[in-house]
Amino acid sequence: MHPSPDSETDEAAAAYARAAAAYQRLPIPEQCWPGVITNLLTLREHVAMVMDFPLGPEVQADSVFQP
């Protein structure tokens, strides 16, 4: 939720973003990169929360979510 002001981690995120875009051949206009990286830094906080939670193999997603 709160993008880190740490320039080293920001640079790592930017490097990841450029590599991921190249890997899937997603052209991103140069002027979009600052906004994309800002949003990616926001997402990184949420990604960490999702990935930090251990789930057993019995926890499966529904193909169509059943409330």
């Binding site: 991103i28 906004g35 926001t42 997402l43 949420h46 789930l55």
Partner: protein, 464 residues
Amino acid sequence: MSTDIPNGILALAGQVRDARLSAAEIVETTLSDIEARDSRFNCFTAVFSDEARAQARNLDADVRAGRPVGPLAGVPFGVKNLFDVAGQVTLAGSKIRRDSHPAARDAALVARLKASGAILVGALNMDEFAYGFSTENAHYGPTRNPHDPERIAGGSSGGSAAAVAAGLLPLTLGSDTNGSIRVPAAMCGVFGMKPTYGRLSRAGVFPFAASLDHTGHFARTARDLAAAYDALQGPDAADPACADIPPTPSLPELEAPLDGVRIGVADGWFREGASPEVLEGLELAAAALGATRTVALPEVARARAAAYCITAAEGANLHLQDLVTRPHDFDPATRDRLLAGALLPAAVVLQAHRFRAWFRDEVAKVFEDIDVLLAPTTVCTAPRLGQLTFSFKGHEVPVRPNLGIFTQPLSFIGLPVVAAPIRRAGLPVGLQIVTRPWAEALGLRVAHRLEQLGALQAPALEAA
């Protein structure tokens, strides 16, 4: 207000059925009112005058001929402009879709309201592709909050909420992926309903994040909300998520007493960071119902994070081709969020979907001990237009992606919610009335009871 419906939409429809009021008169009054006042609010992106007049003429002819007309006969309504309307281009708040072919047929919910006698009057403003909580649309301008035109209406269904709050329409349709009905309902001081995931059809509705998308509606009272809800329900094979279950009419239960209904008051995540007026609203509603039991849901922050990731990835994937071929036709703020979502690793999205199943099962355990959960809808009242951040837990966080902090964890697992306006002076504050899946009728009962107790009320618009 010139479109004054003091006794609700069912009474209005009764007057039409009894030929005491013609649908044509209602439509002319509504169109004149929109013409005179919408420029202050910018709710509408299109007004279907000719089509509305034609539908009214046909309805009045049916009444004169003694043919049956529906329970919502003559009730004017509008739709968020991501609902298909036959013959119209479905914009979904975008510039990009202006080039699309007009819709061949009405969205399922539009068709159901028309079949009930309601008259479609126009299409309503929204955040581009529903990705935002503010309805500050770069292409069609911001929708202004009728209670303070210098403030946002909330979003993404901001035009739908503001049209009801302004008294321009008594009924509108919207969609809610992470809070897009509930947030604008709270900001504008109207009732909104986000039913259980799969309860209402999404056929003919431009998607955002399909695994989370819901449809729903806005009205000025719980009774009006219930009346429309009963007209909207029913299975639909055209929407793979729409449950194959029969409708559960809510109106017959609306006056039933709440004896024995166990009501919890949200604690933890839903109180941390909430502004004093929001907490006062929650306490007011809880006190009116005599609810003292506090309930904290497990891992709510993580649920919100997972919803955020799924939304980013699914939204990005939906628009990938346009992001590649015409990125500059997007609202820059939407585009950059979508592009970032396109870069998320698959493992994150898969984990988020699995966490969704875990969280659903844990919250179901909580609902073994309660029937209703009361929670605030938003952290704060409506921010100012152009305001970039608001304060949450001592930090300044961006407005656009964060107004759904309290709504997102609930829609994540598809729980039904009635969003309701606390009765108070000043800017509106909203309450979420949450029930277990498929128990929408109970949520409406609680909302109706809270209105009777004086705790909820859609505030009248001060003379403008």
